[in-house]
């Protein structure tokens, strides 16, 4: 009997909250593949790129062990992301993954997923995208992902990578969501480094995809393949196509909005707050949160009261929650691992007119180097003194 057949199907609620967990010291790549082991996944297609490769290689091992029904390496990222679109349309549970330049190569296809209302999980192991070439974890690519229509989470560490990935399959396939869900982590720092991860037993798995309970009918003998072929007028430039595009795009946006309650239910909210009463606040996502936790510890040792807001969901963005959390803030800093400061822009746009706080334009590191906690501390203390 295949190993996956021996696994017991449990409800998402049981898997996420009730099942007893054991603690393991593993890499982010291992954490992601352990999530896949329990995800009742049907198919995974990807094209190798550092630092993503190790995870998808491990998923290949899972295929070898019988946990997936199909798995292959596509000809490139455009091929991988197109093929996974086709797989998702047939109603099976789908996974793909990429990093930096690979993601950019396949961006055309990625941006087409939400419009086709394709449930699938896309793992992003962030890597530098600009020249000069580098394999380090700069997360500038997420600036592009923000506007594709995909739900987008930013995992802080190995535990998050496990939990978010597992939850993403369920959120993605909810009838009122029916959208791709992307789970980003900063490459190497999370994927190739080890951390503690608490996991439920590998003898459990999530219920399979219920494709007849989703917003868009799947391809079968009754349904003509793909929605675009059925809705031919949308490919023409005319007033019908404008209407349809408007409707589809609003539909994607509305579906993202509807994902909020499932993110709250399965991931404990779109953000997480430490020291809510502090007037100096760090807002961060991804591994910048880990650096901020250490900076916060050091600041507290030095007698400063500092708050930390971890943004877990970038799309949908926790607009109301963030406004609420920053009502009393006097100073805000936004540490980021990219040169454009995409999170800073999100924060400013969200808080404009809703806070008196001074929002520092940084700190930021470029090219995929880590952010020294000393740097965050310096910005914090400068902010305390009253200005950057």
């Amino acid at each position: 009997m295949e190993k996956h057949a021996k696994q017991r199907v449990v409800s998402p609620e049981y898997m996420f909250f009730e099942a007893p967990r054991t603690r393991h010291f593993i890499t982010g790549s291992e954490a992601a593949s352990e999530a896949v082991r329990r995800a009742n996944l049907d198919i995974a297609i990807a094209y190798p790129i550092t630092p993503q490769s190790e995870t998808m290689q491990r998923v290949g091992d899972l295929f070898g062990e019988g946990f997936l029904k199909d798995y292959y390496r596509a000809e490139d990222e455009i091929g991988a992301f197109s093929a996974i679109s086709g797989a998702s349309r047939t109603g099976v549970r789908c996974l793909t993954a990429s990093s930096g330049p690979g993601l950019m190569r396949g961006l055309e296809v990625i941006a087409s997923w939400p419009g086709h209302r394709l449930p699938l999980v896309f793992l992003i192991m962030c890597r530098v995208i600009n020249a000069p070439l580098s394999i380090q974890p700069d997360n500038l690519e997420l600036a592009y992902m923000l506007n594709t229509g995909s739900v987008l989470f930013h995992a802080e560490n190995q535990q998050d990578f496990f939990d978010y990935t597992l939850a993403s399959f369920i959120i993605s396939e909810k009838c009122e969501v029916t959208l791709p869900v992307s789970v980003a982590v900063d490459g190497f720092f999370v994927t190739h480094a080890r951390g503690w991860v608490e996991m439920p037993s590998a003898e459990l798995k999530l219920p399979g995809r219920d494709c007849y309970n989703e917003a868009v009918p799947m391809i079968d003998n009754e349904n003509p393949p793909i929605r675009i072929a059925r809705d031919a007028p949308i490919q023409k430039s005319n007033f019908i196509s404008y209407q349809m595009h408007a409707a589809w795009q609003q539909e994607i946006h509305a579906a993202q909005e509807r994902s909020r309650r499932w993110i709250t239910r399965y991931m404990g909210g779109l953000l997480e707050i430490t020291n809510p009463d502090a007037e100096t606040i760090i807002i961060a996502s991804g591994s910048a949160v880990s650096q901020s936790r250490e900076a916060l510890r050091q600041a507290q040792d030095m007698g400063h009261q500092v708050g930390l807001i971890k943004i877990k969901s970038l799309r949908p963005f926790p607009v109301q929650e963030l406004r609420q959390a920053c009502q009393h803030a006097k100073r805000i800093i936004v540490p980021e691992f990219n040169c454009v400061g995409w999170l800073n822009r999100e924060v400013r746009a969200t808080l404009y007119g809703h806070t008196e706080a001074e929002i520092a334009d940084g700190p930021r590191v470029y090219g995929g180097i880590t952010m020294p906690t000393e740097m965050i501390l310096e910005w914090l203390l400068d902010a305390e003194k009253g200005g950057q």
Binding site: P137, F189, R194, R297, D301, E374, L377
Partner: protein, 234 residues
């Protein structure tokens, strides 16, 4: 347990990353917390390699490269003499009152500026003939990384040798270690050289013990000075 941010630098093929994994795992087996981050370009011999180990008593949050270490281990003299390093000079970012352990059987020719800056940082520089120790006690220079571990362990006081031995065992006798293709093939070659994996572990431990003793005999273990946890912050 004191907090350590350790930067290990060496060249491809020396087992810098392996050593950092063993150290980190040893700390965890001894009841502490530790994380590692390996850092290298293309996997080839003699190319620069760094690995970063964080050691703490309680939960560690930070990740990524260690830019401001309070311990530096240099596995190959070319890191210093040929600039085979991601962080130039080799002591860049070193916190005051910290230690540097260098694999060399005699002091390296440092420039006057380097000497002055190390002096200003009140750095303690230890030269360990790690390769000679490895050759003598393990019969192979490939165990140089283990000798470095032994001395490092003696200087910082963690992990205890029993935990380190367990970590070495787990590394070579297996427990789901994720190795790169290059490392895996090297492992195979080493196994052939020693008839049993068990013997490989034994020889590695002998190199560790010898270097540990070397460090203790030279008084490096007692050299804890004014440095404190605050050195990690300031």
């Amino acid at each position: 347990m004191r907090r350590y941010n350790i930067r290990m630098a060496g060249v491809g093929g020396q087992g810098v990353v392996t050593a950092s994994h063993v150290l980190s795992n040893g700390v965890i087996l001894s009841g502490g917390e530790s994380t590692i981050v390996p850092f290298f370009g293309s996997e080839k011999r003699m190319a620069p390699v760094e690995s970063y180990v964080r050691i703490a008593e309680n939960q560690l949050y930070e990740i990524g490269e260690i830019l401001y270490p309070n311990f530096i281990a240099i596995f190959h003299s070319q890191v210093i003499t040929h600039g085979k390093s991601y962080t130039m000079p080799f002591y860049s970012g070193l916190k005051d009152d910290s230690a540097i352990l260098i694999n060399a059987h005699h002091p390296l020719p440092l420039s006057d500026d380097e000497k002055r800056e190390l002096c200003e940082k009140r750095a303690r520089v230890y030269y360990l003939p790690a390769m000679q120790i490895a050759l003598k006690h393990a019969g192979t220079e490939v165990a140089t990384n283990m000798a470095m571990l032994g001395a490092l362990c003696a200087i910082i006081g963690v992990p205890d040798l029993a935990s380190l031995e367990k970590a070495v065992g787990e590394r070579f006798l297996g427990k789901g270690f994720v190795a790169s293709g290059g490392t895996a093939s090297l492992d195979k070659a080493m196994e052939k050289q020693f008839t049993h994996k068990f013997e490989l572990v034994q020889k590695n431990m002998e190199a560790i013990h010898a270097a540990y003793d070397f460090a203790v005999q030279h008084g490096w273990a007692q050299a804890h000075s004014k440095e404190s946890d605050l050195a990690c912050i300031k």
